[in-house]
């Protein structure tokens, strides 16, 4: 079965979310690219896995839900970082990555797709 390019993009973005868990392995407080720790260790891979599943099943609703959840997480992180209450335990870099994955999944999920060929249309001979 040939997968739609937009579904493949959703899978790739979701996989990026799962793989971003690797940023947690960096030990430097300065050069760690993206700060992933605390609840972020759950948010990135779980939503990423959701996007992968949504893309693999061709279910735009799941892709959109994962994208919306990433964007909501980015907004929560933006509002909280630098304060004593920081649920995701990240910083501005965490905001950027969450936002990136969220916007990407929303764009992929909302993009119009060409209608499938009508069933009663005869195939050309």
């Amino acid at each position: 079965m040939t997968r739609h390019p937009l579904d493949r993009a959703a899978i790739a973005l979701g996989a990026a979310g799962v793989v971003s868990l690797g940023f947690a392995l960096t030990t430097s407080g300065n050069n760690n690219f993206v700060l992933v720790q605390g609840l972020g260790l759950l948010v990135f891979p779980v939503l990423g896995a959701g996007a992968v599943i949504g893309g693999a099943m061709g279910q735009r609703g799941i892709v959109l839900a994962a994208g919306a959840a990433y964007v909501a997480s980015a907004l929560i992180q933006l509002a909280q970082f630098g304060r004593s209450t920081n649920w995701i335990d990240g910083n501005g870099s965490t905001v950027a990555l969450l936002l990136s994955l969220g916007i990407g999944l929303l764009v992929v999920g909302l993009a119009p797709r060409p209608a499938p060929p009508s069933a009663d249309r005869q195939a050309p001979r």
């Binding site: 739609h4 390019p5 937009l6 993009a9 973005l13 300065n30 050069n31 760690n32 690219f33 993206v34 700060l35 970082f81 630098g82 304060r83 910083n91 501005g92 870099s93 965490t94 905001v95 950027a96 990555l97 936002l99 990136s100 994955l101 916007i103 990407g104 764009v107 992929v108 993009a111 119009p112 797709r113 060409p114």
Partner: protein, 176 residues
């Protein structure tokens, strides 16, 4: 450009670029994105103390005197606003370049922010001016090559935007 994609059918938009070229452009774009993403990390509200220190360099070690005047009389007195704007712009540049969406627009915004940084800190002690020249050149490269069309969302979305008659789609075509 010699593409044979059908209208409305998302596909790649990379013409005859070789796979090596496309991978190189994607690495460049993602690398520049990570530069902004990582550096959004140390701009910490509510006081943005580290960012304030760098901003003050524009006044203490001027690069372009009119810019120093603007920083002294407009930016520093309203620092919290400009600090939030800096954080949001840099996080957004990183976010959009990472996924390669509206890449040319965000490369230009990144270039503008790079110029602001350059004019703020290039003459500060222990700065290597070529860091900033290289940042400028990297953004020009991302813009000039429309790097989002290589493994970015621009490659997927451009055929959809081309098939649409809306003004937003036409605008996005130009910005990607």
């Amino acid at each position: 450009m010699a593409t044979t994609t059908r209208r409305g059918s998302p596909s790649t938009d990379h013409g005859e670029d070789s796979l090596t070229t496309r991978i190189g452009l994607a690495v460049l774009r993602i690398g520049v994105a990570l530069l902004w993403i990582e550096n959004a990390g140390w701009k910490k509200p509510p006081d943005f103390s580290a960012l304030r220190s760098y901003t003050e360099d524009a006044v203490e070690h001027p690069v372009v005197p009119p810019f120093s005047w603007v920083v002294e009389h407009l930016v520093l007195p309203n620092f919290t606003f400009f600090a939030w704007a800096t954080l949001l712009v840099e996080a957004s540049v990183g976010a959009f370049l990472l996924i390669g969406l509206a890449t040319r627009l965000w490369a230009l915004i990144g270039l503008g922010q790079t110029l602001a940084i350059t004019m703020s800190v290039m003459n500060a002690p222990n700065e290597w001016e070529w860091s900033y020249y290289l940042m400028i050149l990297a953004h020009i490269a991302v813009f000039a090559t429309a790097a989002g069309r290589s493994f970015g969302l621009d490659a997927l979305m451009r055929p959809i935007w081309q098939a649409s008659d809306s003004r937003l789609s036409r605008l996005l075509l130009r910005l990607s």
